[in-house]
Symmetry: D3
Subunit: 292 residues, 6 copies
């Protein structure tokens, strides 16, 4: 069960409105690596966690924090939209600066939300549940979490450089800091999973005896670059091998003959003279009156 306080985790006050920037911030709310994603990803991971204790508690602490990040960003957007030109008439388009600002605005923030944030990304695509993962395997999931925080911090850093409003920058400095510690914690938890003997570096730590032992340590050189084998990953006794001119191991990828009732196109039966049996020709003549 959850509780809410009206106070924000961190202040979200721009110095002045900036309607074009309000659109860009939507990426951090409803984008694939926005705050709605980490909120829902961590919540479902916590609810789906099968081992009580430090891992589950860390997940739920972080999940609960992220709901508050959506709140901060939604509040910031509403404030950036204060006084945005919602009623500009056609003549206003004659003022190029106003016109340009309107051109760069998110039309739905005015039309749908009345000057507020939406659960969308910066292009207006609604957030969707396929952005998240909660597999029950903590190694696989923590790696996805570290990846999500990295993409999120990268996007925040890019957006930080797209404004010089001190109020916006102050909040983004806080967000950058949180993305830093969250990356650090998921990376540390990955190491801890290994130290606790729960998972190995390769997820999941299973089926290694059954997996194909010939092909689990080779890169197939299928592009004509010459430098793939120059990485440190190729050296050492356990280094990955390069197959310089790999050959296919399988036969041709033919599909079987279709069930006739599905009306796929297949090779017709022909008689000894090579004449097709069947009535395709006649059907054609019956259906079409034109000479083609």
């Amino acid at each position: 069960m959850f509780r809410h306080t009206k106070l924000l985790q961190f202040e979200a006050k721009p110095e002045k409105p900036d309607a074009a920037y309000a659109r860009k911030l939507q990426e951090l709310i409803g984008g694939a690596y926005g705050e709605m994603t980490v909120t829902m990803q961590y919540l479902f991971q916590g609810w789906n966690c099968r081992i009580e204790g430090k891992y589950k508690d860390l997940i739920m602490d972080t999940a609960t924090e992220e709901i508050g990040h959506v709140e901060m960003l939604a509040t910031m957007v509403a404030r950036l939209l204060e006084g945005a030109p919602a009623t500009v008439m056609a003549e206003a388009v004659q003022d190029p600066v106003t016109a340009a600002v309107i051109g760069g605005m998110d039309p739905q923030q005015a039309i749908i939300a009345g000057g507020g944030a939406l659960p969308n990304n910066s292009q207006g695509v609604p957030w969707n549940g396929a952005y998240i993962v909660a597999s029950g395997n903590l190694l696989a999931d923590f790696r996805a979490n570290a990846a999500a925080e990295a993409q999120g911090r990268l996007q925040t850093a890019r957006l930080y450089n797209m404004t010089d409003d001190p109020g916006v920058r102050s909040m983004l400095q806080f967000n950058l800091a949180r993305d830093t510690v969250h990356q650090k914690q998921w990376l540390a938890a990955i190491e801890e999973l290994e130290e606790d003997g729960l998972e190995t570096p390769i997820a999941p730590s299973a089926l290694f005896d059954e997996e194909d032992q010939v092909h689990n340590n080779t890169v197939w050189r299928l592009s004509d670059g010459h430098d793939g084998s120059k990485g440190g990953w190729s050296s050492g006794p356990d280094g990955i091998e390069y197959l310089k001119d790999p050959r296919p191991l399988g036969g041709p990828g033919t599909a079987p003959k279709p069930d006739p009732a599905l009306y796929g196109t297949y090779e017709p039966v022909r008689d000894a003279m090579g004449t097709m049996k069947g009535k395709a020709k006649e059907v054609k003549n019956r259906l079409t009156g034109k000479n083609r």
Copy 2:
């Protein structure tokens, strides 16, 4: 530019058809962590790579291999569907085993694809471009790649246990092996990026001086679990700190007064007697003929 050979990278021949399993395999084709995802993710990362040489070559080698994995799975699905009951009449539903198989089949594999694979997941949701990421930052992207291969190997391992067909298992053993080496290579490439001084563990390696220095090493305890601080991540001189009873740093998250032309609901102006100015009441009376 690409070239194609008709031979499959690895054989994709089931011992016998299994229409219900053909549906499940769709997850590895068009799911969020299926082969279409890694194909497109690596292709866009390669095209968007800003540093020539070993990293870009490794990306393009792997990307090109993954197209062939979609091909293997699509071929496998078509063969698993051979002879599937496409024309079963209502009476056939009286045979419970046949009925159960039909109930578990993917209806679109018959109706749309005529007995072939679709670019969908196991629930019929079409693959979509939001599944992939190619940010131009190699650390952030390789971490996403290692995460994707981990989820992909996990799903392959689960599907491996859902069949005992030797032909299907043989192909999945190959896929497991490829997911192992791909995880290994992305993890190694992440270390190499650090060794080459190109990126640091925290992505992106920027804005650290500007980010909030007070809040970049603390976990906010916002769930009532007591074990979050018991992880190894809390120990050592650089260990993450726990805030046991964190307090909000911001003020209330109020939204500003709306532009009246957007017709949001706001506090009306009242005269000294507390009577509202405006005509809401009259408008109401004019519009509704009933006593409510």
Copy 3:
């Protein structure tokens, strides 16, 4: 900012697992009228609310409760999936009951979530942000809320009849009760908005003077049913009028001639003899070598 307790708002313990029912419950988690929808709808409405006090507080109280409802349902799904046949081999399909259960299961709950809930509906379609609305106009939004709670209670009632597990039923009885009070509160809040003079029954309470006064009280009879005018809505001095044989008020819906650079098809210029000018014919002949 939010806080979380590990205790559920209400118990979520099935008496025994039921994997097929676990799929159906997904509708209440990630469906268009599921708990993720009301959670996000109320959160964004609260953050976008422009009038402090009783309305905003009611919204935020309810929003915070709904997060806990997603939690209850996700926990219930994980427990319903305990021991679900994740590893059934092809032979098992020969047992019709087992086969039928597998056929009716959500394949992604096993393959993706490892036996847990997903942010999807009962067909596997991911939840998406377009399900919610937060317009800043409280009348319009509370009406959407009352509608959402009605659809949600209706779906809960239908699902209630699809199980006889006492543990599941107990939780759904609680959910039904919450949907009852939530409907009641939004309906009461709509009346209060009118009593406070903030909004009128027709949302938004604006532009009535400018709207077309001739056509704002008539039903156009455009289907051949005869009973539309027999409702109570037609009676009384303010009753809605029926136009028995309405005639179009506009002219033909022609689209203007296209910009030639967009290559739309338009009427060619012809000379006095009716011969087309232009070179379409010649272009055609140049391009095609076959007699058609």
Copy 4:
């Protein structure tokens, strides 16, 4: 079965083209509360209506009208795009007003539709079927209809203020009027359903005896606002009660131990010395050649 006349229900002629506004109008065509939504919502409700007579006839009359509203808006968009700068070269961007207009245009209206409307919202997101509801329960559905008409009228009112073209305004005045009468009719039909004894205010009118009688009239105060209980909804003998400090009723939301074949992370078995059994460590050493 349907029939069509070429005459529009109401005239749709702008005084002059306005390409930027043409994009905004897409919200009323293909947005979540646009005319495609009410068209499809009412059609499916009519086809799914289980009670012949006044209700069904009212639904089908309105549904049929709405198809004509999509037609009016699509025609308006095509006319607003007349002469839009489809072929502007890079130099034209040097003229700021032209550049601004182009920046604010919908690129697909030119590239895909050749200067026409699309079945999309104002951000280019395609209309989708999840926007509509047709549950078979008329109270639940009419409430959704009244909500949809309220949001639709609100958005129309906002768009009305974003233009001063007399032709566009004239059409929107008609649309406002239709949204007024449609709200009125659905609200009246809701009352009629109650008067006819078919449904009660709480939808559906079922399971009240079985629902939890303790929790169907309380608001849980889960946010720290103090004003939620000050609404009129708290007063009177049937007023909603406020739980000032509500306590969770359930136990912890633990998920059960996973099926080992799904490879979730779980607590390993340890021997009396606390040493883990199993081979995670060895597997790890075999897989990784580097000292980490």
Copy 5:
């Protein structure tokens, strides 16, 4: 403007209910090539048609018919669902035939629609606007129409073989007939466009002088099949040429150096000794307290 009659274009009465088949029929309602698609595709093409007369009238006649086809199918689905086991308890799953039927049903037809049709395909994916095209170029669009009717007739034929209910088959026989004449009419209209000199076989009939004259008649042999050149398309004076061993015409696809403010990974500047300038290493050490 549209009008509606309650009579169906053709009878839609199954002899007996078949809940599993009701799910499959959803493909013809809300699938990519279902009746909602042709309805909306033809409506938008008609509204976007820039040439009055025979073509536009043909489009609007067909569009209007298709709305009635959605109606027939929605009615058929409701009737196929009559008496479907909506309330089956857990015990009922012990009857394998009932269990199998339930497993194959569309859960949303019961839970959401109360025993009716949905605007979804057979997998529950909602119809969406991206399925349709209305480009303003009649040749391009009529070709898309002929393609849509071909896929639609193919799917109808497949579904025809999946039932033996005389009432369902009778309606599908009508639908097959309509798909036949619609294919025929669009193919005839394509020929008429050419005969009228409005369009040429290659759409659009423009830019032929500017297009690359060297590469507009060659197939690049990029797969290792040997038979591509054996088709009739290779013969005759205008036959398509085969490039047996085509070579890339462009240089390497390098991406330019990124804007540093976007934090892409790029080659660092090194001093004469090969030592990197910059602080990546130090940043790394500061951030991580562990020896890695």
Copy 6:
């Protein structure tokens, strides 16, 4: 299996960057008729092809080429974005030309992709698998292919006129040429299918005896245009007939009485006095404390 060379099929070098145009080009990458669509459509058609030889080889040759087209466009986008104003501060918005360019840019190309292409269309909607078709019936599919190439060439032609950059135009001239030959080849292959007796003009060439013989050659005049019958399609012995005043052939589209457990609204049972049985009224009174 596939292989890749780093050289592009054709050069993709703009003379100078153009960030606004980079957004428009996304339509050719990830739009419904962009290069990702033809890539995936041809790949799945090839893998799903049930007849070896010339048709399959032609499909796979073309499919493999199309992957390289996505590559060319992605490279072009990255180069068009070189030096794009990623870090423009709020003041820069004061320069109207810069502001306009920013307003017209794709925000995600900077925020997500760091100055690269995305798998999206020009509005930011991600590509999705429902855009493609691979039915196993070659006539139906080749017709879809010819339609896709026509729409693709049309969009390319429109985009060609939206730039005057010689480097962009040179690449688009190549693309136009490829779209020409691909249209030509699919049209020729359609004729070949008929000449080989494999398919007839009406797809699929099946069920003609069973289809309704009365209604497979008539246009139903359901719109009030008078010119639909003036096309050449009406003439000749096999010309399509026009039904001037068609009448519905079916009865009313009533839905059956619902299962009571689904709580649809239906006609209540009344006693001899016309009084409704049941307790709807009482339930209502119990639930609501207000006089309405």
